[in-house]
Subunit: 229 residues, 2 copies
DNA sequence: GCCAATATTTAGGCTTGCCTAATTGTTAGG
DNA sequence: CCTAACAATTAGGCAAGCCTAAATATTGGC
């Protein structure tokens, strides 16, 4: 066999690093620090350094990395990351729409399956769902070519004024929170009254519900809003 | 941390060993040799020995193994193997019925996904499909409790007489063959005329088709029949 | 501009699951 | 019943990804 030093291996672990970098670098594509990655992925910082070095030094690397200066996705890395996100959100939509999963349970299942479905599978569920643009959390599903419209929404914690808004999307990271939001009628598309409570929390109330929901700013950041419909 | 020597790890690899042992030991549950496992799994015999030793020496082991004498599933191993088979066949059925996969493509996708779906996912697709008893190849789907009716069919190569039979099931291992069979109308439930051709092949003909199909005994063994309906 | 606190990297290890090569067991033919 | 052929196991290694502990950069406060 020729000694072929290989390109990036596209394992579950690699996918997760790429997704995390995509998420943490934000729309402005800031460099991402090792420790924030370690945090998000639940691994030791040393493991991150290790992986980044591997990802950066393969031929046609997935990331651009400089010691002590954080990491960025390469075009190839971004492409792959968006593909995994597409998988994730299509699967979530599928579980919700076709298999009647409760909203708060779709994330974990999608998190596992996203790494293992084929392009074929992806296409079939997209077709079955009528090529949806949004997942059930209100997140936009990247197109096959990796294009994704910019988000025009902001976290409810960034609002300057109180008032009534439309719920744009809800982070899928915290199942318990998702369930609370659901019982308070706070789901994508709902109309939402937002005001600040005591120093460090927000008071949310869906116009479809009778009870206020008090959330720490930390949790409330999971709810993104746009101007009322 | 307490030093906990751990139980079997339920990885993809372990699942594949258990499935292979289940398949190779047959309905009579014969002991399975290392080399036949190595063959079926596409790994070196030494790797098999290695894995079998690990599987056999964990507390509540998945297999019963004696040096040079082959291996058998323990009750726990059989339970797990049947669960994986159930996953596999439910997924195949799902891909075929819900996602409109061509029959010959369901196997590969199921082979990957079977290791990663949750019990929840399993239950939902089973419900969606109306708790089917057979997959699209005609194979019986083990019930949740691991029960599986005995197969009353035989390989077409074991027939003593020529004649007309009903196609019971078709092995899902060979996609190309599956496709040929499909174009000749040979699918589970079809009526099939079987006669022997030259020394080493069989001639098959679906009553729904106009052309004979000549298959080596090797390939023909993939087609199982039962007495004509 | 220096130094302590914090962030990051290096060094060295572990487990899983695979490999090859060398060794040992089993078995069938003469 | 002995041995050649073949099957199986042991021994020793490798890559991926993780870990901890030790070393080294960077940075903010004075």
């Amino acid at each position: 066999m020729p000694p072929r030093r290989q390109g990036p291996a596209n394992t579950e672990s690699v996918d997760n690093y790429l997704k995390a970098i995509l998420a943490l670098s934000g729309p402005e594509e800031r460099r991402v620090s090792s420790s924030s990655l370690a945090d998000r992925l639940g691994v030791a910082p040393a493991s991150v350094t290790n992986m980044l070095q591997k990802l950066a030094t393969s031929p046609s690397p997935f990331v651009e990395y400089e010691r002590h200066r954080g990491v960025l996705l390469s075009p190839a890395g971004k492409r792959r990351a968006l593909e995994v996100v597409r998988h994730h959100r299509l699967i979530e939509t599928f579980l919700y729409e076709v298999l009647d999963y409760p909203l708060e349970e779709v994330h974990d299942e999608a998190e596992r399956l996203e790494h293992f479905i084929s392009e074929q599978f992806e296409e079939r569920i997209a077709a079955k769902l009528g090529h949806p643009e949004f997942d059930p959390h209100g997140h936009c599903i990247p197109a096959m070519d990796g294009k994704m419209p910019k988000q025009a929404s902001i976290p409810s914690t960034d609002l300057h004024e109180q008032g009534t808004f439309t719920v744009d999307s809800i982070s899928d990271q915290d199942a318990a929170l998702l369930k609370r939001l659901k019982t308070h009628g706070i789901t994508p598309g709902a109309r939402l009254q937002v005001r600040s409570g005591s120093a460090d929390d927000l008071v949310l109330r869906s116009t479809a519900a009778s009870k206020n929901l008090h959330l720490s700013r930390d949790l409330a950041a999971a709810v993104r809003v746009r101007s009322a419909r």
